[in-house]
């Protein structure tokens, strides 16, 4: 099946492009890639990148350059729930290493891997700007902060429902 944005998504692309001067539609690339990732199951295949290039009337290489540079674009499939756990200094001071070890043990996967049921992906990430509320992780659009083992248990149980 060919890759195709929904009408709502196409309207959003149009709105995004209108925010820049004439001929500067490439500026919409980052937001459009976010949109594509949300629209097409959480990751960006080469077909999707080529499609984004055609939508924005730029060359595919311009899209590849960007998609491979920024850490939020997933270039391979991810689980339904992605745990992005911060491991940088301030979180480390508050026990992020232990939280990462605990999640590894609970889910039986290492960072970068997805559980065989396709439910969970674990990623270790660098500073997310929540240092005062450490340890923490990002799940989709939101942050889960002040993590404890009990909360990890609870989040996993909620996600399994």
């Amino acid at each position: 099946m060919p890759v195709q944005f929904s009408d709502t998504a196409l309207a959003e692309v149009k709105r995004l492009v209108a925010r820049y001067p004439e001929g500067k539609q490439k500026s919409a690339l980052l937001p459009v890639l976010h949109l594509a990732q949300d629209e097409f199951g959480g990751w960006l295949s080469t077909e999707i990148l080529d499609y984004v290039a055609s939508v924005l009337k730029i060359t595919p290489i311009e899209v590849y350059e960007v998609a491979t540079f920024y850490s939020m674009y997933n270039l391979k499939p991810v689980g339904k729930h992605v745990f992005e756990v911060c491991q940088t200094g301030p979180c480390m001071l508050n026990g992020s290493d232990e939280i990462i070890d605990y999640i590894k043990e609970k889910l039986g996967i290492r960072p970068g891997e997805t559980t065989t049921d396709g439910l969970f992906t674990l990623k270790t990430v660098e500073c997310l700007g929540a240092c005062g509320y450490a340890p923490m992780m990002q799940m989709g659009k939101h942050y889960r902060e002040h993590l404890t083992r009990e909360q990890v248990d609870q989040i996993i149980a909620e996600s399994r429902k």
Binding site: R19, P21, K24, K26, S27, A28, L29, L30, P31, L33, H34, I58, E62, E65, V66, F69, Y70, S71, M72, Y73, Q87, T88, G89, P90, M92, L93, N94, V125, E126, C127, L128, G129, A130, C131, G132, Y133, A134, Q138, K141, H142
Partner: protein, 450 residues
């Protein structure tokens, strides 16, 4: 209680909503500027205020504005840097989350001063929910006539757009940010030309931090001279400090720059001291890039003077015995913490975030990470410490943008002040592997390694 100019209303119920913000005196600075001041008069007030860039560099904001080129017929842009990614820093997030209209108000007033009809907020991609908060504030401002065509009948048009990044610390560097806003990889540009001459889409551009632009609101409301009366010397006004690490009350505090570091750490009004009866070991006072200081040098300068929470006092002693205000990311470490491991996490961070354009940074950050990992896990040699020192020296100053310096400084300061802790790891490989830090004493901070 110190004075608060930015967060004084941040906890009024529903202050996120336009009606409440307006009722509490919001958007007065826009009225005052557009109805009774010329753009140059607004810039003059910012100059008089002594406001310094709140993103980390501390460059005088009014001066930065006055560099903006104004060729006929060429659009000019204001871009707000909300890419906040420096480890330890989460103040802009707090401001945008709790009192978003303050940023929007500051942007309208600043856009008027700079002649920017389309201004952009570039926000880090991970702050996805804050994008919604800002979009709502912008829509409310537009519906109430503060954005759009001919605002307040002044003839000035302005619109604000929010652009989300996608996970790259380097995009906090202003030219990388502009590249990213143009839909490219965040590779910093060679300067000159500076953005004030050739910025977004080749047009004159001012890039300012969120907190800097928010501070324009009280500066216009109260006047630059009044603002400059707060603080000490060239550290005028108030500063947001995001405090984290091993303290009782982590969070974001607005300080007027008149208090001591000791008061900031131990007073209940701020960090509330160190938890669990632990002792203060060290602190990185201005975000992960600035030099770490051991407790004694943190609380007093090498000359024995009380160290204050000001740009000048935090930098007293240079890098040999001082540090920097930086972004205000205040990271506190208690006496259980291992400086080698902490420095390793920062080296890993900078390796991950290096854009790869300049060899010293691309290669050097990776080397530093690996060597620090070896030392941390008991596989290091004594010569590795000197090798680390050598590598950081060869990165510093040899890259297009300051990320190289930012990666080098934490390593340099850790060795400078805590060399005995590195040596302990080399001499006690088995204990180092068990992560038993086993330190009875700290390096004498006054003995400087190099």
């Amino acid at each position: 209680m110190g004075r608060k100019l930015l967060l004084d209303k941040a906890h009024v119920e529903n202050i996120r909503l336009y009606e409440v913000y307006r009722r509490e005196g919001g958007y007065r600075s826009v009225e005052k500027a557009l109805k009774s001041m010329s753009p140059d008069q607004v810039t003059d007030e910012v100059k008089k205020s002594g406001l310094r860039g709140r993103g980390g560099a501390g460059f005088p904001s009014g001066m930065k504005w006055s560099f903006l080129a104004k060729p006929e017929g060429v659009p000019r842009y204001l871009v707000v840097n909300a890419d906040e990614s420096e480890p330890g820093t989460f103040k802009d997030r707090y401001l945008m989350e709790f009192i978003p209209h303050l940023l929007i108000e500051g942007m309208i007033t600043s856009s008027y001063a700079l002649g920017s009809n389309n201004s952009y907020i570039y926000i880090r991609g991970e702050y996805a929910w804050i994008v919604d908060i800002l979009q709502q504030a912008i829509a409310e401002a537009r519906n109430n006539g503060w954005l759009g065509k001919n605002i307040l009948g002044s003839g000035f048009d302005c619109d604000i757009h929010v652009q989300r990044g996608a996970g790259a610390y380097i995009c906090g560097e202003e030219t990388a940010l502009l590249e990213s806003l143009e839909g490219k990889r965040g590779n910093p540009r060679i300067k000159p030309p500076f953005p004030a001459v050739k910025g977004l889409w080749g047009c004159p551009t001012v890039v300012n931090n969120v907190e800097t632009i928010a501070a324009v609101v009280p500066i216009i409301n109260e006047g630059g001279e009044e603002y400059a009366k707060i603080g000490i010397g060239k550290s005028t006004g108030t500063k947001l400090i995001s405090a984290c690490g091993n303290i009782n009350k982590p969070g974001v505090y607005e300080i007027d720059m008149t208090i001591s570091v000791e008061e900031f750490i131990y007073s209940d009004e701020y960090c509330g001291g160190i938890p669990n009866g632990r002792k203060l070991k060290a602190c990185i006072p201005g975000g992960s890039s600035v030099p770490i200081l051991p407790a004694n040098l943190l609380l007093k300068t090498a000359k024995g003077e009380t160290r204050m929470m000001t740009y000048e006092s935090l930098a007293d002693g240079g890098f040999a015995t001082g540090s920097m205000m930086g972004s205000g990311g205040f990271i506190v470490m208690d006496d259980r913490q291992c400086v080698v491991r902490h420095t390793y996490t920062l080296a890993r961070f900078y390796r991950h975030e290096s854009c790869g354009q300049c060899s010293p940074c691309r290669e050097g950050t990776g080397w530093m990470e690996k060597i620090l990992w070896n030392i941390e896990t008991g596989k290091g040699k004594m010569s590795d410490i000197d090798l680390l020192w050598d590598i950081q020296r060869k990165i510093e100053g040899n890259t297009i943008c300051p990320l190289g310096d930012a990666a080098a400084w934490p390593v340099a300061a850790a060795i400078r002040h805590f060399r005995d802790e590195f040596e302990w790891h080399v001499n006690n490989p088995e204990e180092a592997q068990k992560r038993n830090y086993g330190l009875a004493h700290y390096a004498d901070p006054l003995v400087v390694t190099a």
